[in-house]
Amino acid sequence: MKPFDYVRPATVTEAIAAAAQPGAVYLAAGTNLLDLMKGNISRPDRLVDVTHLGGLDGIERLADGGLRIGALVRNADLAHDADFARSYPAVAEALLSGASAQLRNAATVGGNLLQRTRCAYFYDTASRCNKRDAGSGCDARHGENRSHAVLGWSEHCIATHPSDFCVPLVALDAVVEIEGRNGRREIALEALHRLPGDAPERESALEPGDLIVAVRLPPVASGFAAHARYLKVRERTSYAFAMVSAAAALRIESGKIIEARLALGGVAAKPWRARGAEDVLRGVAPTADAFQEAGWRALTDAKPSGDNAFKIELARRIVVRALALAAAGTPARLPALPASPFASTTGAIHA
């Protein structure tokens, strides 16, 4: 690990000033950053430790019915907050399907959003990677790439974003609150992560010094609580990143879908909102045919980036099944294996 300076600012303003310098990065739990630093993939000159800043670790119900989650709330604390899990069950299920209990106890909300890709070529410093070393090339493009992107990729980068948490958050129109050198601003979570294009080294809309201070869910987000699921296919049942995942949330009244929300994980460099699929579900009955149509619409623009054409069909089926599970109703208690297709949930509809 390269040597670095460590600073612990007392205020957000001090933190922003310290982190705006070239070579500086924020440190929260460090569950991803320290791993990257040990592998010489990230080589920061300065770590700005934000874990001792006050006021960033609360879960706050807003007067308008929304929810504000501080950036330093631990993943496990959020998932195990009973009110939160009841109101946003797909988000809790996604959180608990990610990483291990030890990592969820440490990892923060803000850090989860900004975690880096798990592309093996990004991690292997002997390989060419445009994300790690801009302009060097992409060895994944013609390498071992069965787990790589099928949506939104470019010739410069075919990596995926690994977060589970972000997938239902994007479906529910989460907003990211950012403090920066020019004060506070907010952007849709959907606009936080960038597609690679010809600059895959630029992964987010954040500017130097920008600090995510909170994630907000709008008032309507809890309206999907009765029909919301996260489903995640991975190469082992627990403690693995998504090959493909989907968050599905429905509002059903009088036998018809009033509103549908759908997002995919593991398929692109960002959590992938499938608005076309949501559109075909509006106003129709929650039937297998409707969900099949949504599955086709969600993957209309998909194309293999290598040896991964199977992910497109897999993603269609995951969409159909996630929608069917959501339509069947959110279970009173999360299954023993959160988000797993092998979970023994009573009442599950198999697509």
Binding site: S100, Q102, N105
Partner: protein, 165 residues
């Protein structure tokens, strides 16, 4: 630049001066305090051998910078027994052969203690397996580990019932 921190380790306050901020909690425990029960397996957050409790929560000590945990309360495997009286989870691991080579065992036990306080798994073997998935055992002693945790959870439940009765 030196960084001064203080930690409570197994009930005792310890002060440190770090001349390099790269020191992890794992390395601090092993190299400075010679508490070598906490194991360095992968050193990358994948195996769980380094699991300790920080402020009551189980984490991977290999992915935690010591300098960032100034003021934390730390419990390691060396701090769970009371003298010669083993912690109930330790006793259950012995009773159920929850190990073979023993390298992962301190992490498994610390993880099980943390898991029981999280109160998510209860006595459901499938939930226990899921909640313990951050601890790898290359000898494959998982069946014994699950049995040990089940027994320890049973004892804890009985104790709690007696207390509330």
């Amino acid at each position: 630049m030196n960084h001064s921190i203080s930690l409570t380790v197994n009930g005792a306050r310890r002060d440190f001066v770090l001349d390099d901020p790269r020191v992890t909690l794992l390395d601090l425990l092993r190299e400075r305090l010679h508490l070598t029960g906490t194991k360095k397996g992968c050193d990358r957050g994948q195996c769980g051998a380094c699991t300790i409790l920080v402020d009551g929560k189980r984490i991977n000590s290999c992915l935690a910078l010591a300098v960032s945990h100034d003021g934390a309360d730390i419990l390691t495997i060396e701090g769970v027994a009371r003298g010669d009286q083993l912690h109930p989870v330790q006793a259950a691991f012995i009773a159920h052969d929850g190990f073979q080579c023993g390298f992962c065992t301190p992490g498994q036990i610390m993880s099980a203690i943390g898991m029981m306080s999280e109160a998510q798994a209860g006595r459901d073997p499938e939930r226990i397996r899921e909640c313990m998935s951050g601890n790898l055992c290359r000898c494959g002693a998982y069946a014994g580990i699950v049995d040990a945790v089940l027994e320890a959870q049973g004892h804890a439940d009985e104790t709690n019932q007696r207390r509330s009765a």
